[in-house]
Amino acid sequence: MRGVVYRAFRGTFHLLPSMLLVVGVQTWFHWGLVSQDLVALFSLTIGGVALCLIREHRRSAWNCVLFHALYNAAMLRQWSLCVIGMIIALGWCACRPRPRTDA
């Protein structure tokens, strides 16, 4: 969603309309839940906006995946998975790939 749809909307529209459109599509997919729960609607909207802002300011869409994955793990109360995942993610985030040297 953030990788393709948001980037496509940003190719034409400014930040706010693009965010609104993406959050709208996202809400459609969660309609069964958000139509009967205000907390779910609130968390979905805030989360959707946060993901769009991350995509806007960071070049890699993996940042959005990481953000979403941690939120999902918290929702499932998988605390050990959160810690293990974040340790692995730290290694992935901190290590920069070596520049290529053509022999």
């Binding site: 749809v5 190719g11 693009s18 599509v25 997919f29 779910a40 994955a69």
Partner: protein
Amino acid sequence: MRLIQSPRSQVSWTARDGFICSLALVLSSFALNRALHTAYAGSAGFANWVRANSYFAESMFVSLRACLWLGLAYWVTRNRSLKTFLHQAGFDLRPGLPGWFLAWAALGFGILVLQCVKMGFGQAHDPASAYARGGGFHWEFFVIYTVLLTQRWKSC
């Protein structure tokens, strides 16, 4: 109205692509649901298998949908190569340290939502415990696909 400048090898994605892609995702999801519903109603064997392995079947369905969406996004955006597609979608770079710190914010936000539900501000949905009852493999599969691919229940 403005367009993002891109190298010649890339296709400039515009709102048209965004709308087509969104529509494709919605329609494919709807079609997949209808196909499964028809198969469930029309085939006793399939219905029995789904009843016996409901958690696994749902996990497989969501994984299948994720693959379908990825394929559709690639097809709709008219990219010449998978490499170009991944580059434009932002999947060719690793996440950075700011992203890692933001993930902790997501964890905090998730805990905040859980607290809101606990305090009675929202409804409790607990698919996690239902999947846990489904057995070890079902539970592991559920956690992997839910954490990495989707989150259908925003508040447990």
